[in-house]
Amino acid sequence: MRSYAELAGLMTVMTGDEKHGPSATSTLDVLWVLYDRVLRVGPDRLDDPGRDRFLLSKGHGPVAYYAVLAAKGFIPESWLTGFGSAGSPLGYHPDRNLIPGVEIASGSLGHGLPVGVGLAHGLLARGLVTPRVFVLVGDAELDEGSNNEAIVYAGAVGLPNLMVVAVDNQSSSYGWGPGGIEAHFAVSGWSATRVSGRDHGGLASALGAPGDRPRLVVAAVEGKS
């Protein structure tokens, strides 16, 4: 197992760059906190029905995701070298059929949250009330209308095992207006909060608390520009 401080080195193996800009690392702290302190998952329980499910809906820029998966022992570090090459299981968008521990193949935006709604429903229908479904989306990804279908529906039926983490780097061209992303979820019946996407303690505390309805945590990070 690697530490948070070692993630940058793992990312460098993939990109060849010594330094990583904010857009490459917008999800890094959220991913680390999830895998280090929140998710009940592990390489030894890949098929455990009782594991939490983490869906990286925003499949773009998966370097931070792969670094965390390697750091936590889901994939060998040797895989990182071939990132994106022929024969590598690690593409520019992740594929659940190629990578241990990856719950969905993503890349096209606006699919993870609607699939997460079905997964949350399915776990409850099977009597699995403990595991939670975490979906990581980007603020611009929420432009996709398919998310709105899921937000309104999940709020109305009140899936308590569903958690969305919206990494907000203010990259949506038209933004979310007064009240931000959380206002749009709250009006549909979600519990919603905003924390710093770089504050590990704040993230862990916001992500760790299951409630009686679906929950949104907006993880605010620096803008792209």
């Binding site: 609607p114 699939v115 399915g122």
Partner: protein, 310 residues
């Protein structure tokens, strides 16, 4: 099952029974037919889900249910199930390898009066681009329960598209996974898919041709077709959806022959901008008995008229 019921009613009843019997079967709806599932939803609120008028969500939810280990049945009108939510079908089912049974109503011109917005004769051709989907086209309501059960039963190996219609043959045939010979002849083989069987039989009643019936069109029974082709090499596909949808598979099945001729009958591509009845539209597409007869006799006389551009 009573043959007095239409395919949709029979389907809802069979699907409700499956939800009762199997704790892993789920139904996902987008308002359409929700009334027919009201009792099942009351008994199993956690597995009979109506997501509202949200077809993208309906298909994605099915993908998520499948990832949780359930066996989802997804149902709405054909254009909204296959076309509107196509990327969800492609990615959240196909690419994830999450399996579901998709059940449509409103086949081709069933909704002739409703116009183009409620018609999707392209459904099978479009779904055919997603690897791993079986396609079942019942020709009679009594064939629906068996096909549905079969589709749910094979979910561990793949998804199925079950295409219901208000068009129906006069009687049901026993279920058979490949081509089923209904009558034998020497001049040609005519493959009648689903509800095309009765009009085809009427069209060729005095012609010396084999008629083979298919409910399963994916996987396509190419071996069965090759075995039925007569010396003349004349093959007719009569499909109740877009003309030519299975032509590439028929061609592939017959590449070993020195020669064959293929006539593809089906729904044309042109925008008709006509309302009226399904039987009127069948005639417009040359898919009523008279039209099929005209095409087949012309074809046998080697006047190869194409109906692809109706």
């Amino acid at each position: 099952m009573s043959s007095m019921s239409d395919m949709r009613t029979v389907f809802a009843s069979a699907a409700s029974s499956l939800v009762d019997e199997d704790p892993l079967v789920a139904v996902v709806l987008a308002e359409i037919s929700a009334d027919l599932f009201a009792k099942a939803a009351a008994r199993h609120p956690d597995r009979v889900l109506n997501v509202g008028i949200r077809e993208q969500l309906m298909v994605s939810v099915a993908g998520g249910l499948a990832l949780a280990g359930l066996r989802p049945i997804v149902h709405t009108y054909a254009p909204f199930l296959v076309e509107r939510a196509f990327e969800q079908v492609k990615l959240d089912l196909g690419h994830q390898e999450a399996r579901a049974v998709l059940v449509s109503i409103g086949a081709s011109y069933d909704a002739a009066r409703a116009g183009r917005t409620h018609q999707a004769p392209e459904d099978v051709a479009l779904l055919d681009t997603v690897p791993g989907f079986a396609v079942q086209v019942p020709g009679h309501p009594d064939e629906v329960p068996g096909l549905l059960r079969g589709a749910v039963g094979v979910l561990s190996s793949g998804s199925t598209y079950l295409r219901l219609s208000t068009e129906s043959n006069r009687s049901a045939l026993p279920l058979w996974p490949g081509l089923q010979v209904v009558r034998a002849g020497r001049q040609a083989v005519v493959v009648a898919v689903g509800p095309m069987l009765s009009p085809v039989l009427d069209a060729v009643s005095d012609l010396d041709v084999t008629v083979a019936y298919a409910t399963t069109v994916r996987p396509f029974d190419g071996e069965g077709l090759a075995a039925l082709v007569p010396a003349s090499g004349a093959v007719v596909l009569a499909e109740p959806y877009l003309a030519g949808t299975s032509a590439y598979l028929a061609s592939a099945a017959l590449t070993g022959r020195s020669a064959f001729r293929l006539l593809s009958l089906g729904v044309g591509r042109a925008e008709l901008r006509r309302y009226g009845t399904p039987s009127y539209h069948a005639a417009l597409h040359g898919l009523d008995a008279a039209g099929i007869r005209r095409s087949v006799t012309d074809f046998l006389a080697r006047r190869t008229e194409s109906y692809l551009g109706v």
